[in-house]
Symmetry: C2
Subunit: 648 residues, 2 copies
């Protein structure tokens, strides 16, 4: 039973003007994209080699040599191209565009006559295409090429890559589908599903939508495709099969039967993003409900306070409710980005601050933490607690790097950061029949249609460091529409002024966590928000074992942490005072607000490991900095969940 959903559309004609997000986007454009280009071409002095461009040259028959890297090495190129597309859209750069065009030409040459495109199989194992969907990422890589093609087409109008991927999809459609004789498989790593829907929105070719639908709906059916496929390959060609359960691939149940987020966190995010997309395109209320149920399970039981997801390295995924260890977190950068993608889709289907709040949590914490201030060092894993000596000594921390790395053998995260941060402006506003939605606060400008007019909105703010937001409208004449402005869940005291007058009945103007101002607007109309942004002590649910008796500091949407460089070693020995006076001041080296407060350092009464004597307390000043900005000065320990007097 399909119902028409009253869907919003993101406003892509948005310009970031300044502030933290614009600054991060600039770093990506100016430093990260060129840096990653070097990485893809093995021109970096350190870090793991990529070989990704070289693989494509070999697949195109222009070079000889061996395939190197992960089976999904192509996807690093695709994600880089997607980031370049967003960058070119806002900041034209003929030289960069020429480079991208060359890469696209190379990709086209690496495509096989039948449309197949994958450098690993083309070079290494051409006879065995599509025989190991569970592990070998052919459909995943196709998905990333599709996303890149759509983005590049939208940014530049050039359709060469779009033609390549359409031919590729035609080939895939000839292999997979409900029709007799076609394989009933689906990707081990989801991605092509959401990419196909994105393609469909450009091509309006129903086959693209139907193929996405097939991949989503086929997943988890019995007998299980991956098990059958592994049996068909035989044990020799399935050495790693069975290391994880089917939940690793979200293939333990059909999607419509799933009620908890399971398995590999990035895969889950991409699948559930596609489920939300399908709900939008088909109006299927069950798919929307499935997506919402899964979202609620994740955000209420399986997500770190940073928006990081994935509680263990084994399977890079979810474990059980409330199992969120700080120092052994996986919290992959890509997974937090995936959460952001998924939340964005739900937000368009059902504007509600419960989606935007968690997207914002991920963005300002577990996503931005993935890159260094300079944009050339990356975290794959984003722990909430690090002690470098523990990371070195303990085997169960071997996935945790105590400092960001130059590049990775599995380099999915850096280009994922690049493509998100170059397209952040797409996420700030949405338009619907009712008017404009302001989901996020960032110094920016947008144009949108309302009542047949083109309306300009200028948002002025220093968010997330300051809670004051000013919205100025510009239009010819007047236009009746609603302005929906998100009231962030983290904020406990909001003052709203419309044209200088305080809005007294805020509750009466609030719907699903959005301020709704419906009126006839004129040029010069101004809405001001003052979001009180005190330092807050935040508690985790008491079932979260590793946060029990501890607090985290949060200011606005930003989670703070303690670093050794500010507080000395042994961060667990620090205790925040009972009623601390928090002071917020600019951290000189980082240029972001730091929090200071009174506290104590506990010191052993003697040298005994166990004693009935309480540890001694020495008064100290505790200093916290934004979590995402840690590891930008000197390496050392870091801690989010800290001890606090009286919190027991």
């Amino acid at each position: 039973m399909a119902v028409k959903l009253d869907v919003l559309l993101p406003c892509k004609n948005t310009v970031l003007k300044g502030g933290l997000l614009a600054d991060r986007a600039a770093v990506v454009r100016e430093k990260m994209i060129p840096y990653q280009w070097k990485a893809l071409n093995d021109l970096l002095p350190d870090g793991e080699p990529s070989h990704a461009i070289e693989n494509l040259r070999i697949a195109a028959g222009e070079k000889t040599g061996e395939f190197k890297g992960m089976v999904f090495q192509d996807s690093d190129v695709a994600k880089w191209l997607e980031a370049v597309a967003y960058s070119l859209a806002t900041h034209p750069d003929p030289q960069l565009e020429a480079t991208a065009d060359e890469v696209i030409d190379l990709v086209a040459r690496a495509q096989q006559p039948d449309g197949y495109l994958n450098s690993y199989y083309t070079i290494v194992d051409p006879e065995n295409r599509w025989t190991n969907l569970a592990e070998n990422h052919e459909l995943y890589c196709a998905g990333h090429f599709i996303e890149a093609a759509v983005a590049y087409y939208e940014a530049t109008g050039k359709d060469k890559l779009l033609q390549v991927v359409c031919k590729l999809v035609e080939h895939i459609d000839s292999i997979f589908g409900p029709e007799e004789g076609k394989k009933k498989g689906y990707p081990g790593h989801e991605e092509i599903e959401l990419a196909l829907i994105r393609l469909y929105r450009v091509t309006r070719d129903e086959r693209h939508l139907r193929l996405a639908q097939f991949f989503v709906e086929e997943r988890g059916k019995q007998p299980n495709y991956f098990e059958e496929e592994a049996r068909a390959r035989g044990p020799q060609r399935s050495p790693n099969w069975g290391l994880f359960g089917l939940d690793y691939n979200q293939a333990h149940l059909q999607v419509r039967e799933q009620t908890t987020v399971e398995g590999h966190a990035v895969r889950a995010m991409y699948l559930f993003s596609a489920v939300a997309d399908l709900a939008q395109e088909t109006g299927d209320p069950q798919l929307l409900q499935v997506s919402k149920t899964l979202w609620d399970n994740m955000v209420s039981r399986r997500m770190y306070i940073t928006g990081g997801i994935g509680s263990q390295a084994h399977g890079e995924g979810f474990t059980i409710d409330y199992d969120l260890p700080s120092s052994r977190a996986y919290a992959e950068t890509c997974a937090a980005i995936g959460l952001f993608f998924w939340g964005h889709r739900l937000l368009q289907l059902e504007p509600d601050n419960r989606y935007a709040d968690e997207m914002e949590r991920a963005l300002y914490n577990g996503i931005l933490s993935g890159m260094s201030w300079e944009g050339d060092r990356f975290f794959y894993v984003n722990p909430l607690e690090v002690d470098p000596a523990v990371c070195r000594a303990r085997h169960d921390h071997r996935h945790v790097k105590a400092t960001r790395q130059g590049w990775f053998a599995c380099a999915c995260c850096p280009p994922n950061l690049a493509r998100l941060l170059t397209s952040l402006h797409h996420y700030i506003y949405s338009c619907g029949p009712q008017g404009l939605f302001v989901h996020f606060f960032a110094d920016s400008a947008v144009e949108f249609p309302a009542a047949g007019k083109k309306v300009g909105l200028r948002q002025t703010t220093d968010y997330p460091w300051d809670g004051r937001v000013q919205l100025d409208l510009d239009l010819e004449g007047e236009a009746p529409f609603s302005l929906h402005v998100r009231l962030p869940g983290w904020c406990r005291q909001v003052e709203v002024k419309v044209n200088g007058e305080v809005l007294s009945d805020l509750a009466g103007h609030t719907h699903r966590g959005y301020l709704v101002l419906t009126r006839t607007w004129r040029a010069g109309d101004r809405v001001e928000l003052d979001l009180a942004m005190p330092v807050e002590k935040v508690y985790a649910h008491p079932k979260v074992r590793e946060a029990a008796g501890r607090i985290a500091l949060q200011r606005g949407p930003v989670i703070y942490c303690l670093e050794e460089v500010d507080n000395g070693p042994d961060l667990h020995s620090l205790l925040l005072a009972r009623e601390p006076r928090f002071q917020v001041a600019r951290e000189p080296e980082l240029g972001v607000p730091a929090i200071s407060a009174q506290g104590f350092r506990l010191e052993a009464a003697g040298s005994q490991l166990y004693t009935t004597e309480k540890p001694r307390r020495t008064a100290v000043t505790i200093k916290a900095i934004p979590y995402f900005a840690w590891d930008n000065r000197r390496p050392g320990a870091m801690l989010v969940w800290m001890r606090a007097e009286g919190e027991g």
Copy 2:
């Protein structure tokens, strides 16, 4: 520079009369030894198969078949024989002795004509004896056969096994040693060193002592023997070599250069026990100092409050100072037993409660926890915190069993428990030229020589549940000697009476944590101790991250824990009240004292995972039971380090 150490000797003619230790020893005799005999013969309905007796039959040429089990499977038989020997010494049992004699005959038949004895190499790889000392445990198994032979000889006077091992040692001595042409190797898993010294004490054959010395002193020399050996075998025959560092085998430095306990905890304990033995036999002060330095490092930085050691599963060993995670502890039962062995040796060299206190800590906590109340279920790993759901879900907890097991593929711990608990009476008292030392409190009787007389001492107590201890002397006439009675470090208030009169100057009568009463003793003399045994809140050193802000409950030497069966799930949500009134009462199902106190259960203010609202508190009664007795009722969660109001 050898100096004569004023060494104590354990009083073996001790009888345990009653109380917890006698009860545990009885369970071993009556249930565990027969149960383990079934295990060794694969007659158990559940648990991992052993095949250990069958291996010996095959090695003896009396059966055909394959070797099964670990390369050190023989040692399970040897340790069982050793336990049987101790059992026969105190509780003659002709049927059990006949069975043991048959096993010894079998071992003798499995011995090769040249003296070699090891069923794995004899069956599987006779050409490659002594080519993989690092990993393959030939010398380790020899060590356990030697210990069994000495114990059996001392218990029964029968020397068949002693002859077998003397022939084996002769063979080993022909292979290893400082002489030209002999291998310069030493065991990957230490054990033979301490066994050879034990053998030497019976045989007084200097070669036995010199071989032990050689193995201890050769370890860690450069170039490293294990590395050379692996190189000689080649990569094909060294598939697992390099998984661990040389510190895993305590071979990273020569023993005399070592200052921190490193690597596999059981191996370290056996090596350092041998180092202390060598210090005793040779009077080498440097060896004593090395042993003491290592002991101090361990007990002040690398030991759980239960006496468990080994902070991670990888390498089953030590990590770094203060790294003592509760739920991912290794804390192998064998390692705590090894700590007890080592401490005992230091205690004889230098009577001081700092050794006996930690031995007692291990015994009443991390050792006794290794067996079920009924003696037929075992923990290999003894965590300080268990949540069964976490153990199932988390790969980094896969070594942690949430409930005791029937048997193990690697079954070192159950027979180690058996041999320790059947010989516990050896550890209670020591004699020296100065007189008697009472190291431990247990309802027992001992006879010892003093001033040319035979003196009897009867110790009456319900320790560890009650701190009152009564010592009654019996002798003909009178004898001047010193009675040394340990004053446990856990005890903060002691009252001593001699013949009913309170000893006022306790400090003046205390030396290295022992009460020293020097006088002319007569029959009927009575010494009474009243060791105050309130429930204590114990703190860990603030650098122990996972105990930060938490307390453990201790009463006497016994560490307590919370179990789900008493307190419900989510033990981290419990908070002990600020000034709790502790009540101690017999736990009806377990028959041991339980502690009750006021506390709170924290409950989330709402369903949000993260919130500025403090969790709500509901008053509850918290109940704790002795740690060693957990998992004897219904399976569930367990926690040692609990939260406590005001301890932040």
